[in-house]
Symmetry: C2
Subunit: 112 residues, 2 copies
Amino acid sequence: MSSESGNLLAGIPASLVAEQFDLLLQTGACRLERIVSIGHATPPGEWYDQDGDEWVVLLQGQAELRFADEDTVRLLEPGDYVWIPAHRRHRVERTSHNPPAIWLALHVYGVG
Amino acid sequence: MSSESGNLLAGIPASLVAEQFDLLLQTGACRLERIVSIGHATPPGEWYDQDGDEWVVLLQGQAELRFADEDTVRLLEPGDYVWIPAHRRHRVERTSHNPPAIWLALHVYGVG
């Protein structure tokens, strides 16, 4: 999918065993990827703890995002974006099946 | 709009004299912004000729994008993305009024 042009909402399979990651752009300082989640969630008890900062937007579907330092889950709808600083622990509690959840994630290294 | 969270499809005015640029993220190596176009186009005879690379996706509405080195105009629909290398001259021929065109643009400097 790392091509000169395309459509972020296209090429979505009917189901997926694991989440699908499509690399869109990779430079020395940032990585842009599409993530397709069809009912996937972070495994129980696990947390993402990332070395880099991430900016992520939900383009389609619904998702529930939880931060370890917050009491309530955030319900994300299409267009909702969240800035996730490095090492802010978080997990995805739920993603929709129909329609699939489509994310666009920008990972940033060495923020100036 | 440069905040920790928000919605890219929200806060769209009914009309705009000029295109609206909302900065989402700025680091040493990349700049992420939302652009709202409501019937705007690049002025006749003018071309964008940018010093940096740009990855751009249309999130809502319709737009027509023309490259100086292509014969035909590209019609962009929601989800369509395009990679625009530095100094590849291009212009926006048309954007929709209803719904407004909403873009997400990632400008990248010094691609590794």
